[in-house]
Amino acid sequence: MPRIVQVWDVPVRLFHWVLVVLVVFSYTTGQLGGNWLAWHFRSGYCILALVLFRIVWGLFGSQTARFSDFIHGPGRVIAYARSLLKGASMFHAGHNPMGGMMVVLMLVLLLVQAVTGLFSDDDAGTRAVLADKVSDSTVSLLSSIHRINVNIILACVVLHVCAALFYLLVKKDNLIKPMFTGHKLVPDEHPAPALAGAVPALIIVALAGAFVAWLVFVYAR
């Protein structure tokens, strides 16, 4: 008998939805420009801290949060993609092999976006906090990467949402609700994943936040 099991811990779920809000906010304020950039910067600092947290949580966090749980070789990814199209896809308590690739891709893209942002100049009177630390040609290059990478992130977001809708509507597998509640209907043969506590997560968040704050308010001055 399948039973209801908690597969996503609180840190992963909070990370996901806070990130959604911040990415939308960053995109909007970035497009608006002008004095909205002050908010764009703050949002970017938060995203950087969150991504750093998620990378560490991917190494030491709950089982379903760990990279080792959802990064697979190309063979398994292809096998999963095939099973998906046939209709009888393999069950995964955490991220499936394709979703896992998207997690890694998004984290890398967001890290690139947040870091290049720190060194950017909008060529409209506003310089980011670390722009004076590097040469003008570096600022110009990193600003360009920042402006191009946002579109790659946007494409990934669209793909990610489409995939979630594909599972919901075609596969009749609601992956969105568990990202809110944390719980999934898990077949008997799959053991419940081991979840880490909230205290280590809080410590990692605090350290990531402190590092970004130091970078932005101490090192940059």
Binding site: A124, R127, I148
Partner: protein, 148 residues
């Protein structure tokens, strides 16, 4: 009389066209980039003041805004056809969609004129608001007509 005026305008157009044609594309690119850099320098100075990165100084802000107001119409004279190639980020759309490009330039000129006006008031909060509006005019044109 009307016909004479039209003829005169045509002549003036021809003269300015030939003046542009004489300029080497690489010179036009350098000239407009220099003007952009000067605008950027002055605008960045106001940006630093209104974002508390350097102390606010009314006279300096007025000087910056005066320079900007004088310079914003300058680069556009050097966007002559063919200069979207070479050491430039200018897109070909500048020439394909000339009306939109002109409107973007006019928007900046309007905002820059307001910036100068506001800078004279000595009201830093108002200067910050107008800085934002002017920056958005810069960005509007960059987004549409400049390679990322």
């Amino acid at each position: 009389m009307k016909r004479f005026t039209v003829a005169l305008l045509c002549l003036a157009g021809l003269i300015s066209l030939s003046a542009q044609a004489q300029m080497k594309p690489e010179d036009a690119i350098k000239l407009r980039q220099s003007a952009m850099k000067l605008i950027g320098y002055n605008f960045g100075s106001i940006g630093a003041m209104v974002n508390d990165k350097k102390p606010y100084n009314k006279d300096e802000a007025i000087r910056n805004a005066t320079n900007i107001e004088g310079l914003v119409s300058q680069p556009w004279e050097f966007f002559i056809p063919g200069t979207d190639k070479g050491e430039t980020k200018a897109k070909a759309d500048i020439f394909k969609d000339a009306d939109k490009f002109k409107a973007a330039n006019e928007r900046l000129q309007t905002e820059a004129a307001k910036l100068l006006q506001v800078s004279k008031s000595g009201d830093m909060a108002a200067l910050k608001t107008q800085f934002g509006a002017t920056a958005q005019a810069c960005k509007n044109c960059h987004d549409n007509f400049r390679e990322k």
